[in-house]
Symmetry: C2
């Protein structure tokens, strides 16, 4: 049973996030000590319940009576925060269990992140937590926050007190948590709940996502992640949550070197980045590349309605910033709205003749608050406009705070989002933010506003897209299973080309007609039956890259030529790999035309099966024009994979070429996904090339490789 297992009915997280009493175990009088800062935060954030310092060596801490152990506390204790040296954590947790505590937050480090001894300590800690029916955040974390006025819990040692708002924030890194809380406050972004997850021994990110799913106080979820505990559960939960509220994630450890740093940091096995991208996009989660971008997007989602489309109008008092904004918008896939004639006429009436009333609307440097308010209302009323970015470079003669307020008063009534770029002194921006409150997305740079707006548009599209289905196919699982079981019985990982073709055929993935010829008689019969020209390929489970040993002969025109090629292939195979088991030669009808694509699958250590679509042949290696999705793949996912390829216009037909039958390719992807679903023992699979031709009947695989895990094999899932 994994910590995320939904089957395991575990107590609610209310014990952690909505306690009526909190014990701080390890509370210290020393300034700068984590426990002291935590207790200080608890008290100064005005926790609505009772706080009990626990420390055998003190009588009073922070002016509050202190108890030697948690069991000495006279009242019930809902939540205990453990901040003791690592070697005392287990005893403290055990005492909490005996006391009947519901929730633990273990700040102490020295667990999984420090190697084998820590792993064992963490295992024992979890055993105590489970035995007593508690829930735990951490260990190795910086605590949690709930700003609800009935709770007012700040059980962190972060130096920055949070603002009240509707963002649920989870961070897998304590240090990033500190930075995140600081940034959120500076930007005026209020939070509903916050949790630093630490080692996620018990409560996981999935648990929190689920906890916040129906929390009316939380309208937006932000995550800083370094690993995924259980990607399948994440997929299920995130798909559901993102239909109700936006989820934006930074996933660190994007690059190979970054992932290595992640592994040494949390001891978590990091997924490859391509799988993360695929997974998040499949679930409708917005991915931010940096924490800065996370906040840019959060500010907009937190304060403004979603745009109905991608048409943006710019209202400015200076040309330069508008050009920068246009560049950034177009770079994010947004478009400049075309303003109607009526809108342009209304704008012109009251602006100086040098102004520009086409988008970007440039009122020039003397524009004041009244101009912004009037023009913004006119632009918002234009049905061709989905969103507006107001850009303002304060000249000397206007009060920028007044102008910003005019903009936001004008924007208030509109169901369309309005973002503001204020290229001004820091203190001006602060003054504007103080007045505006959380609904006021004010950016310093045009690019920040542009990418925030693009993220809003993308979220709306993700949320509103058809959910996608996993189509039902008629397959012959028994036939496919029999082939792979036979190979597994021989302890083989690699199926031969012929075996792979039979497995795929059982799942309705058409392969080019072919025959295995073990001798010259079978060869002649195969050539006769298939018709020339044919292709001959060596068939051996021990030879995976056939072309590298000259194991393929193309364009064989007659039976006589075939015999020469047959001898040559056997000779080359024996020369290249003397101990290879050689089954014979596969004779295939030679297919012409169509696009050489690939249908692939590989197994990611964290994410399980990853499906791949792309252009095949040497292009897959050099140009890497491929798309991934995490299993299971819906019909929508498969279609999106194909659309996302750079080369996809080739399939639609260029220069008068007929369009290829993309549907047949999409179906092959879905059938492979089904095959992978039915047999968890399949580790890797490549149909390469898969020929995508004009009609479905001509679409077929020309070659295939399948690698299985013999030990895991034989049990359809």
């Amino acid at each position: 049973m994994t910590p995320d297992d939904p089957a395991a009915a575990r107590p609610s997280l209310d014990g952690i996030f909505r306690p009526k009493s909190v014990a701080v175990i390890g509370a210290s009088r020393k300034r700068g000590h984590l426990a002291r800062e935590l207790l200080h935060n608890l008290v100064s954030f005005e926790f609505e319940g009772k706080a009990f310092p626990v420390n055998p060596g003190a009588d009073v801490v922070h002016s509050i009576k202190c108890y030697p152990t948690v069991e000495d506390v006279p009242d019930a204790v809902d939540l205990a925060v453990i901040v003791v040296p690592r070697e005392h954590v287990l005893a403290a947790a055990e005492a909490c269990g005996r006391k009947g505590v519901n929730g633990l937050i273990v700040i102490s480090s020295g667990f999984r992140e420090v190697g084998p001894a820590g792993v064992e300590r963490e295992r024992e800690l979890m055993a105590i937590v489970r035995r007593h029916g508690m829930r735990m955040i951490g260990p190795n974390c910086m605590g949690v926050i709930n700003t609800h006025p009935a709770v007012r819990l700040n059980a962190t040692f972060a130096p920055t007190p949070p603002l009240r708002g509707s963002v649920g924030f989870l961070s897998q890194s304590g240090a990033m948590g500190v930075a995140i809380l600081e940034n959120a406050r500076r930007l005026g972004l209020g939070i509903s709940m916050f949790a630093s997850m630490g080692n996620k021994a018990d409560v996981s990110g999935n648990d929190l996502l689920q906890y916040w799913e129906d929390d009316p106080e939380t309208s937006l979820v932000l995550m800083y992640l370094e690993s995924f505990g259980n990607p399948r559960n994440f997929t299920q939960i995130a798909r559901r949550v993102t239909r109700k509220k936006p989820v934006v994630a930074v996933k660190a450890g994007r690059t190979a070197a970054g992932a290595a740093a992640a592994a040494s940091h949390t001891g978590a096995l990091a997924g490859t980045d391509v799988a993360v991208d695929a997974l998040l996009s499949q679930c409708g989660v917005l991915r931010a590349v940096t924490v800065e971008e996370l906040f840019d997007v959060a500010l907009a989602l937190h304060g403004q309605p979603l745009p109905a489309g991608r048409n943006v109008a710019l209202l400015t008092d200076a040309g330069g910033p508008a050009i920068m904004a246009t560049d950034a918008l177009v770079g994010c896939g947004m478009e400049l709205a075309k303003l109607s004639e009526a809108t342009q006429a209304a704008l012109a009436d009251g602006l100086s003749p040098d102004s520009s009333v086409r988008n970007p609307v440039d009122m020039l440097g003397h524009a004041g608050g009244a101009d912004y308010a009037r023009c913004l209302k006119i632009i918002l009323a234009d049905p061709g406009v989905d969103a507006v970015i107001c850009l303002y470079v304060p000249p000397v003669m206007h009060d920028p705070v007044e102008v910003a307020h005019a903009i936001f008063d004008a924007a208030q009534a509109s169901p369309k989002p309005v973002l503001c770029v204020l290229m001004a002194r820091g203190e001006v921006i602060d003054a504007v933010k103080r007045r505006g409150g959380p609904s006021l997305p004010v950016y310093e740079f045009p690019e920040s506003a542009a990418r925030a707006l693009a993220a809003m548009a993308r979220y709306r599209e993700l949320r509103d897209r058809a959910p996608g289905e996993i189509p039902a196919f008629r397959v012959d699982a028994a036939a496919a299973g029999a082939v792979m079981e036979a190979a597994a019985r021989q302890g083989r990982e690699h199926l031969s080309a012929d075996e792979a073709a039979r497995v795929l055929a059982a799942y309705g993935i058409r392969m080019v007609p072919s025959r295995l010829a073990r001798n010259r008689d079978e060869l002649r019969a195969a050539v006769r039956d298939l018709g020339t020209p044919v292709v001959l390929k060596i068939s051996s489970p021990d030879i995976v890259h056939k072309t590298e040993i000259g194991g393929v002969v193309l364009d064989v025109q007659s039976a006589a030529q075939a015999e020469v090629a047959f001898d040559a292939l056997l000779h080359r195979a024996r020369a290249a790999k003397p101990d290879a088991v050689i089954e014979g030669v596969v004779v295939q009808r030679m297919a012409r035309g169509g696009h050489e694509m690939i249908v692939g699958m590989t197994t990611d250590p964290s994410f399980g099966p990853l499906l791949m679509a792309g252009f095949g042949g040497i292009h897959v290696e050099v140009l890497r024009d491929v798309a991934f999705r995490v299993h299971p793949v819906t019909d929508r996912d498969a279609a999106e994979m194909v659309q996302s390829l750079r080369g996809s216009p080739l399939l639609a037909g260029v220069r008068g070429a007929a369009p290829a039958c993309t549907e047949a390719y999409v179906e092959a992807l879905l059938r492979v996904d089904r095959l992978v679903h039915d047999f968890v023992g399949i580790r890797e699979l490549d149909v390469n090339p898969f020929l995508v031709a004009e009609t479905a009947a001509e679409c077929m695989g020309l070659d295939a490789r399948i690698r299985i895990d013999p030990s895991a094999f034989g049990q359809p899932a």
Copy 2:
């Protein structure tokens, strides 16, 4: 004569940037009026010379005696700043000329940017400037700054006073100039000189670049550009300047929509973005995508030495930010340095056992200033380390300002760059910056430091790369010219395939052996001489896209087959385009194997000839795997073009394929560049496909198109 014409000896810019006396024409008593703010800035920045307000309607302005006209000023006036309504600008400039003023700054707007009347007004203004031998910044600008202690000139109306430093900053947008000055001050980035260029009627960006080239006060040039006045001069000047000091540019108007906004803003004809990228990279100018990135890069270049290579060490007190930094570094093409055993041992001695002494070096959350100083010195001494980023998330128990200072004291003596990421409260960052001064690059986000370091590494590589040469080729310009002159005499834009092949052959660009066959006799002779198989193509100057009308027949195996194809081609051509002039049929030897590449050239309205390399066929259209350079192209440029293609590994040989003769392809690019140099009348040229095979002898063009401007034609440059 263009304003940039280096042949035109114009007075020095000292009259503008180093005046001993300044008249402010249009000086006003009204707060918020631009002239009032400008005079206020001039006085409060403590200009070392004399300031004279000029206004016929006032006796005193800003406590200084005011004169009715500039001619009434009793002393000599070096610089006049004109801030009067547009209709009075010409008279004011004329008066300045009579007075013997050396430099003008025209703040007033209402010139080229407002349409035809403004264009005419600007032309008249320039005539006055030239007639009196003055130099002028603007019109439609926000002024200039020189912080040199002997000058102290702040002749802008920007609200932010500048800090003294060594950055030369030019902005083509006044509004961006205001924002830029504000940002620079906030980041602690001091400037030597600043200029808002406005309409660039006289003084251009090129003039300023040249002016700053040998200015000892300026160590770094930053530019915000919306257009290039004279790209050829820019290339010459920037190539020279970037060998002495870094130049970083933001070029707005990147996207098509952005460029449209640029055109309506400055009336300047914006170059296409691909040309801008090519041009800047050829000149060694770093391009920043956003103003934010410009400052990130400037902070590092301004305060730190250049790294010798791309190996970066990270020193941190928290894992999360180190992962983000690693991601960002790897994403920018940097690498994580491998620390030596000795370094790791020295680091371990004094750190807690849970720390990580491999890169990233994670000292964990309790690290203080002494730890940072000790470890940083050890890491900087490792010869495998080219640069260090220190990441610091202040925990509660240390004073972050003290830690930051320890880092910078430790970094001081090293010839390697050290950048700092401080994920802390704004006031902490401010405190650190105040102490550190301009040499202290402190960033809020790991990504900012990573991209700044990558830009430093790139600048060093650009600066130190071989300058590149334009090789001398033996060509037959007369032969090529004769072909094109003949076509031009017929008023034709498009050369026939045969004509194009002859032009290329004259420049040593080998085309596949081919013959023009005008009748069946010539056809039979051609097939006999060339040997089968051959390809037949219709030859007509009126038919450009031959394949679209079925104008190509491949793989013709015999003279008899050729005759059938010949008739078919003539028939199809007449059917498709009854009035086309048909010269006959081109018979070509059929080439096999090799990579289908393209050698292309097109003419950009601002940048002139653009050379293009890339993979040919349908790939050039769909995958757009192409690289551009602005003419003239050096051997280094051409080699970089090929290396930059995504598909370039294909040329090196993948899966055991023999490497292709890239040299022959590079030579073809250089020969086309020479052809383009010799004949300015060539507007477009495509050798597509150009077959790049194993040996130089097999590399050849299979088809070519050349479009000329008949009116411009006939004069070799």
